[in-house]
Symmetry: C2
Subunit: 154 residues, 2 copies
């Protein structure tokens, strides 16, 4: 027995929407994962390539973007560096800090993968017509809408 239902239909639809979001997330992740794997990159590495596409960040900032610990970054960047995708350089302003950025090769790979992601997800979005696509993009955009209020999860 559901106790009361202040708004019975709200809870229902909310639940279904969340499920849809989660399902979409898994599908999307599977695609990203596969594309990464095709290039012998983990999801995280692929993500770093995406993040560093147009930026140069220090370790801590990168960790922040990824939601990971600094100590995790060391190994991550180590491996990427070993593969020639990224490089480290001491920060100009802070002697302790280290900047990370994509090498030429890393940039190339990043762009290539980005294109593959587009291509791989195209069949999905093509199930919607042009105006629905625009609508979806709009709704997602409004939902994610920059940094206001974070997600917080508890």
């Amino acid at each position: 027995m559901k106790p009361k239902s202040p708004k019975r239909s709200d809870a229902r639809s909310s639940e279904e929407l969340v499920d849809a979001l989660v399902q979409a997330a898994f599908v999307t992740m599977a695609v990203l994962n596969k594309i990464g794997a095709d290039h012998a990159l983990s999801l995280t590495q692929l993500r770093v390539c995406g993040i560093l596409r147009d930026r140069r960040l220090r370790m801590a900032a990168l960790a922040d973007y990824l939601g990971l610990e600094k100590s995790t970054m060391t190994g991550l960047v180590d491996r990427a560096e070993r593969r020639g995708l990224m490089a480290r350089a001491p920060s100009a302003e802070d002697g302790r800090a280290v900047d990370v950025f994509l090498t030429r090769e890393g940039t190339k790979l990043g762009e290539q993968m980005h294109a593959q992601v587009q291509q791989s997800l195209t069949p999905l979005i093509e199930r919607l017509n042009a105006s629905d696509r625009q609508l979806l993009q709009d709704l997602l955009g409004r939902m994610l809408d920059s940094e206001n209020g974070k997600v917080a999860s508890r």
Copy 2:
């Protein structure tokens, strides 16, 4: 080669939509990840709990759902079993096969986490009004729409 641009704006909007989907996926995953972590479960373990919520599957089927190798499942189920969340039982129809299912405790945890997911994503979807939520759910539903055609990614 794209000869002329049949619809220049299509590529553009397509790109932005894909980016929005990917971003939404990462946000969603971060939430799931956190909820799992709160219960000392990996994303994958959390997912298994979700999948087995109302099912009882054999190892291979589970691997299929997750897109993982059978050999990966062994360890996964081992650890979950050790924590008392799942259990194995020989299949009735096939002497080789093993069924996996949630224990009472696993079911409880699964439901609890499911509720937390709802709750954690609520702030996000609340940025949309009721009819937009319905719309979004609809669009996602149509996009994912069951098994037609898989994603394929290459």
